[in-house]
Symmetry: C2
Subunit: 337 residues, 2 copies
């Protein structure tokens, strides 16, 4: 067994044709006669020839590779994003270089620099703590199309041109939650969030607005610095004192953690307090109590992001920004007062 890579040239030599012919044959160029095409394919298979996409990318000036940065794949919601994005990309012939952003500016910069140095055709940022112009500067050299989700300034760029963007209708979701709670006879509501990402702010403000609109009064905001037990216990204790009718959480993970903390503090959900989440993670429907939450079309968003990104790379005009619909899932964690 040879210890060197088998290249186009090797196939050419064995098949007794030129490298150009091999290249054409393998890519199904119609100008190649059937016999040679067959023979070349045969030889290529026998030799175990695998085209080197890097070399190809070099001449074609496109890598058929996408960069994907997510805050943290550990989170199921981001896992779904990565899964669907990758699936769609692969179906379209694109590989994806993945990296966690970790909501750390320096780390995110490193990631973007990596994407740039790979000269990926496009990059999708599902959340970033970087300022838009910095992202732009970091990615500009690679001429990559890119899309941003979650950021406050929701835009997509290609060679510095603003474009469309995909987002879930967080505001509508929070309004639905508020309406649901009012229908349940709730009078006071608290918001519990974790980190201070853009989505966090959007949801919190949307809830506050919706609450005000429906006469729920001010929304007490409780923040847990890191997603850890002690923090949630502290919040649970405060809720124990404040006794709001409901605690609306930034996401399901937060809600589930809070419910656990409430349990150790002796508050029962939904008996003593209603709790609502956001995202409709798989866990939401099998938690105890099953969680009332807002279903987000996560996979759909990831798919559309990849779709728009690839379309844009192909030079097609980018569709307008899209605000995908969400749906309130009423389950056991909220109950009438």
């Amino acid at each position: 067994m040879s210890n060197r890579r088998v290249t186009l040239g090797d196939v050419a030599r064995v098949a007794a044709v030129s490298a150009a012919t091999v290249s054409r044959s393998l890519r199904g160029d119609p100008q190649i006669s059937e016999p040679t095409r067959l023979r070349v394919r045969q030889v290529a298979d026998e030799l175990g020839y695998v085209p080197n996409v890097a070399a190809r990318g070099l001449v074609l000036q496109q890598t058929q590779t996408l960069g994907l940065m997510t805050p943290d794949v550990t989170d199921p919601i981001h896992g779904q994003v990565v899964a669907e994005f990758q699936r769609y990309a692969m179906a379209r012939g694109f590989s994806v270089i993945f990296a966690n952003g970790l909501r750390d500016a320096d780390n995110e910069r490193r990631v973007l620099r990596t994407f740039a140095s790979h000269y990926v055709d496009g990059v999708a940022l599902m959340g970033s703590v970087l300022r838009q112009d910095e992202v732009l500067a970091l990615l500009a050299p690679s001429k990559a199309t890119f899309m941003v989700s979650e950021n406050l300034r929701l835009t997509s760029f290609r060679l510095e041109l603003p474009r469309g963007c995909i987002r879930a209708d967080d505001a509508a979701g929070m309004h639905a939650v508020a309406e649901h709670l009012v229908g349940l006879g709730h009078r006071s509501v608290a918001f519990v969030g974790t980190n201070a990402c853009a989505t966090q702010v959007i949801r919190r403000d949307a809830l506050a607005a919706a609450a005000a609109e429906r006469g729920l009064g001010d929304v007490a905001v409780h923040t847990v610095k890191v997603h850890e037990a002690p923090d949630f216990l502290a919040v649970a204790r405060r809720l124990h004192d404040d006794r709001p009718d409901a605690a609306v959480c930034y996401d399901d993970k937060t809600a589930l953690s809070l419910i656990d903390a409430l349990r150790t503090v002796g508050m029962r959900v939904p008996d003593d307090v209603s709790v609502a989440g956001f995202d409709d993670t798989p866990m939401a429907s099998i938690a105890n109590p099953r969680l009332t939450t807002v279903a987000q079309p996560t996979a759909e968003m990831a798919r559309r992001t990849a779709e728009m990104l690839i379309a844009s790379i192909s030079g097609q005009p980018l569709a307008d920004s899209q605000l995908l619909p969400v749906a309130l899932q009423v389950r056991e964690s909220t109950r009438a007062r």
Copy 2:
């Protein structure tokens, strides 16, 4: 703003030196005089030069890129693997091309072919449904080192040489569970699993062996085909009839789903039946009831995998296979009979 990529040559022209000098300056070659080095760096920065790793890989014959395939990132346990693997890889200067295997042979083949065509320096397979020799054949052309986790034949290869491998001590975990249940006075135990992956088989058999050893009698095996509610309800009903003292599940996800199904069937955990999981997912400790499970050093495994892979790529001798210790976490879902 120019519309072309800025290359080594561009920097060279502007800095009035040769491309070779630029190359050397940027990589800190000691043979370059300080003045030129500085000037070159300066120009490179001004021009926004970003080295093209693909081109570099072409000449260096190594891409500084790793391929990572996981069954499904959507699963938190795999999400942790991806996160830690990527983190470690990036810290070592490696990019990672990620793809889901989805436990689908055709899909996994496509993934491996993709890795091969990128001529990644190494690939890590955290679970695969492919036969070892097929993986080998698919990857051979790229000469990539690779490691497999989870498979029954647990080995790592480089140019067809068997090497070390990282795994958690699943058997020890199941033995600990069995012992715990016996200590609780349990007499009968069932196993609930989902798909038929290798780990599944390992854990099931280990439980059966441990049970036999400790006089727990035969282990009834219940299988849910897909991870969906109806399947779990069916299993829950059977458990309702069989009334085993405990149901030991393949993993936490399965355990949590089962507990939910048991609840709708009217069986209480741990009052009517004990339930144990495996993995110690974040959800395990905040579920209601909190789940007794086996903690696996997931991140540690991912890190070591990346570590060994990279070491092996660097030509270093590979460490022996490692069986990482697990730890039983006793919580609320198991109770004495």
